[in-house]
Amino acid sequence: MTAIAIARTTDLFAAVMLSGIYGLVSASFFVALDAVDVAFTEAAVGAGIFPLLMLVVLGVTGRYEKTALKPQKAALMKKVAVVITMVITGGLLILGTMDMPAFGDPEAPAQQHVNIRYIEQSPEEIGIPNMVTSVLASYRGYDTLGEVLVIFTAAMGVLALFSSQLFVTRKLSVKIKKDDMHDHNVLRIVSKILIPLILLFAFYVQFHGEYGPGGGFQAGVIFAAGIILYTMLYGLDKARQVIKPGVLRVLCALGVFIYGCTGVVSMLSGGNFLDYSVLASDPIIGQHLGILVIELGVGITIAAGMILIFFAFSHQAESQLGEE
């Protein structure tokens, strides 16, 4: 499989390309296993954002892996030891699967508990067809809030690590670097057509998430991908004029804020925290409203967070290039 090849290549760049393929493969795997929402996310993240981030970092750290400096024998010994450990652990794990219910067995214990309620009740209780969305936003609203907070924190962490001049607009007159993409005119024009389409599609995914696969997480990533495409083609400075990093930072927090506020509002109007049924006179409409608002919050946070992270990385890469 792809993974073995990734492990063996020393050329990091090639490894990143292969990990892109790996993302695609695993996403098709998810489709085959009926997990459309997951495939959606994995396609956007595993095949898109992750390799891009890796590439930016490679631009900073250098492309080739160094060959081992240690004496060969010690390295070999270590390798053998690691492989043996691997085989033993893997063997034990596989042995463990012997007790597991067969793959796809509807009688398996994992299918017996809350799952039945989710599947049978959610169309009546929440009133939207996509069960993944209803579980995500309503039944397990706390979890999702936590995850959004984690993403927010991670974005802030990246920014803190690159305590850089990202928020100070550089003077453009310093030196206009040779724009790498300047001679790719065809690319620029096609992308100009595509970017609005991508952003539009992101909105479609955002608000259609109740009926088909999609939702805030995916939409945020797609939106960020559109902006990232713009950044790559027109340079960071231009992209920062379009979307100010300061605004992004506020947006990133705003998403979490929206999410939390929805919970508080529902609590104030007499329900539990994040219980949307009380938001409108009809519980189902209330649920609808709550999920819509929350997905919006999630989408905003993810999009802003991803763009911020990308900006931070590519700013780092560019400034390093400027130093040399």
Partner: protein, 116 residues
């Protein structure tokens, strides 16, 4: 019967490859790629658990009656995005390490800073 479990085996093989990369590669970026593979194998594991034979994607429709388990999907959906966010954090750390020490190789790092 025996081959009913093949899916889990793939998961574990992937997992071991990821673990191997994390332990044995000295390049930090390579380690992170390995971590990513490990992560994905766990995702696949969860989704495999949620699969029901003959079921279809958990989006309500009038023609289908049997659905896959939506709960693992939800967990993994969020886990993927959280995964990329934390991965970004890790990459940021790698960049800082590169800046501070001038290398991203494990062994060289240890030579330069024996304390860590």
């Amino acid at each position: 019967m025996f081959f009913d479990l093949y899916n889990y085996w793939i998961v574990f093989v992937l997992m071991m490859i990821g673990l191997y990369m994390v332990i044995n590669q000295s390049n930090l970026i390579k380690k992170l790629i390995g971590l990513n593979i490990f992560q994905t194998s766990v995702f696949i594991f969860y989704i495999s658990v949620g699969k029901v034979n003959g079921g279809s994607a958990p989006i309500f429709s009038s023609t289908e009656t049997l659905y896959s388990n939506p709960l693992p999907h939800v967990l993994i959906l969020t886990a993927i995005v959280v995964g990329i966010a934390t991965m970004a954090l890790a990459l940021a750390l790698v960049v800082r390490i590169k800046k501070a020490y001038g290398t991203v190789e494990d062994s060289e790092l240890q030579e330069k800073d024996p304390k860590c």
